[in-house]
Amino acid sequence: MDILFAALLLVLAGGLAPLALHRWLSAAKVAHVSLVAAGCLTGLYGVYAAWGQSTPVLFSCPWLHSLTWSLSLDSLATAFLPPIFLLAPVIALYSYDYLDAVEHAWRTAVNHFFFSLLVAAMVLVTLADNMAAFALAWELMSLSSYALVLYDYEREETQRAAHLYLLFTQTGALLVFAAFGLLAQSTGSLAFAQIQLAPQAAKTAAFFLALIGFGSKAGVFPLHIWLPHAHPAAPSHVSALMSGVMIKMGVYGILRLYFLLNDFNPLFARTVLVLGMVSGVLGVVYALSKREIKRLLAYSSIENIGVIFIGCGLGMVGLSSGNRIMAAFGFAGGLLHVLNHALFKSLLFMGAGAILHTVGARKMDQLGGLMKTMPVTGRTFLAGSVAISGLPPFNGFVSEFLIYYAAFQGLGLQGPDFLLSMAAIIALALIGGLAAGCFTKVVGIVFLGEPRREHAHAATDPGPTMGAAMTLLAVACLGIGLWPEPFIRFAFAGLRDLAPLAAVSADVLGAVPHNLAVIARVFVGLLLALTALRRLLYRGKPVSQNTTWGCGFTQATSRIQYTGASYSLSIVDFHRPFIKTTTKFAALVRIFPGATQYSRKVEDLAEIGLHRLLVRPVLKIADKLRWIQHGHIQLYIGYIVFTIAALLLVV
């Protein structure tokens, strides 16, 4: 634990140093990156050191005399810490070149400060071992991420996004605290260890309250509304950290609470599973329908959170039905997907940031052909896209495979559990296909083909640290795919200290990791062999360049290319009842039709729902009630008299 504290101090120092050094921007950034990196590496070492120990590491100190502030490092925490410690330095590295506006030196320093604070807060969230410590860490996390979103505060969109985010995160936090209160009711203790003694009803209520709270942080459908606004509005390295790492804290919260409750209620399991499926499928459908890269990536995060939820939900179903192997695979798949998603989603956000940084366009349909002008970004983005589509030999497949494995285990169950497992498999398959569709769209529209607007020609690869960060992550994505064994074992080890799963050792894995590794390597080998063969076949053959075959159409311009919107049109329309599209199209009239316009808007069902069912009625009621403050002093005195009369009648 001391090592972890040292790590936290280093990370925080990495936040404070830029504040002191903001007059010398480069120095500030160097200090930030190096201190954060040092801190995170120390932290990784701390996690590694705690790894071998059989009992959780504990720490506690009094806080404000009557509360205690206790931390513990158990296996679940060790599963969530590496994504934080791994991603934070890479993202910090990326931010070195990304935040290069000299005129914003002070703002950059503040951004660095909150970045460090967010990292530290997330570490504390995973370590917290009682309600007070958890609450503090959680709120610090909310605060710092809110501040990070506000980086581009001049833009109205940013302001709205930050506002929405604050609302969601604060309400969510209050619900979580309410759940804590319910659980503390019978035992009177704020310690996590006492939670399992709470009565059944309190546990159920608390779980669902917390599910709303944590779910809104994680961005699970339909509580995700803040997410597609906040991620595009935030600077890209912040989106990378928030989407890659922070929203996983919601998952962590749910898992932590679930195991603390020690109540394997099938209702919990089924709810989580269904939420996962809904959010997975709808997340990716909405992602497909989006036109801004970062918004698309945000919805894709919702989808991946759905996948993680499916994994955890399957794990919970396994526990509630007594199928330990299913449980182990489900949870381990979820945990591994947390790490994997952190890697590739950060990578993708970084790529989007690189485009934004050098080209400045947010809409995909204004881009194109960037692979030629931004080779590093393009290649790493392609790797990330394959990985996020869950395709071998990249890391996304490994975790999805584990989740599939758990789901197939669930087919042996009866009744609703069977049906849900089956639905989970179908959902996963759908998600896989749709995700591939979604990311072929991004890669194809943004990086391939020809530039659709002039400014896309001017693109160049971003600064070296950004390229280095993206390359690192791309290599990591492939690396996990090719050497999955240690990572799968890592995910399983995350379950070690969880009482119901302690008995399930990594032996159930059998040869699974090995097989996955072998196939991935065989595939890569085969690919290399084919490449060599191809080279051989092309030796001495004429290879020439020409324009694309236009099927007889000779006046091809870059504007006739397929657009992202048309690419996804039919898939999106297929999901019509769950997605609301409005198309405006002035039909062609007369023999010589004039200029016409076609526009299409996709609205989020949950957002519409929230607006219709909550925001509008509340505003309406509030407006109606404003007459209370009417200005008539006579009326005001009347209130007092009336209140007295009413209360006296009650007595």
Partner: protein
Amino acid sequence: MINSIDLILVLILLAVLLSLGSSRMMALIKIMALQGAMVSLVPIFIEPQARLSNGGILFFQLMLLIKAVLIPGLLYMALNRIAIKREVEPLIGYHASLLVGLGLVMLSAYITRRMGLSLPGDYALLLITAITTTGGGLFLMMSRTKAITQVIGYLMLENGIYLVGTALTKHTHNIYLVEFGVLLDLLAGVMIMGIILHNINRAFDDVDTAYLEQLKD
């Protein structure tokens, strides 16, 4: 003795009813002076032997001075400056107000019975008077639009509360120093209100609360 206290209480009640039915400011202030004097006298008549101790005499003299002379005097001065003679458009008309006043008396009698305190005769009437005065004061504040009338209503409320105190609590609790503090507060309050009234009048050329409805949501 009994007759005199009843007389005083009836006078107070009458003052309440009159104030509810009166539209003329000057009359209202006079009524308040009368009521203030009567209210100050009540304790002396109720338990004279106990109350008329050393400090007591001084205190009651002071109270009489403040309630019957100083406060009405202050109001009189304020009224002179603002040159308003009558309440023109009350929110609730004078006849209706009178009826309300009568209703208040009945309600007070009912409440007094309901309280089940088994008070001796004078005390019961005292309590009825007290509650009526309190309610009358509140009603006056709610139903009149001129700010000065509201001050008068506030004074009536205070009188009523004082009477309730007299009726309900044992005199042994009375510490004249403390009561004097209360009186002083009242006096200062009326002074402050007078100053504000003056300023309101200067700013709006009227003391109608209809001008005081700018601040709202």
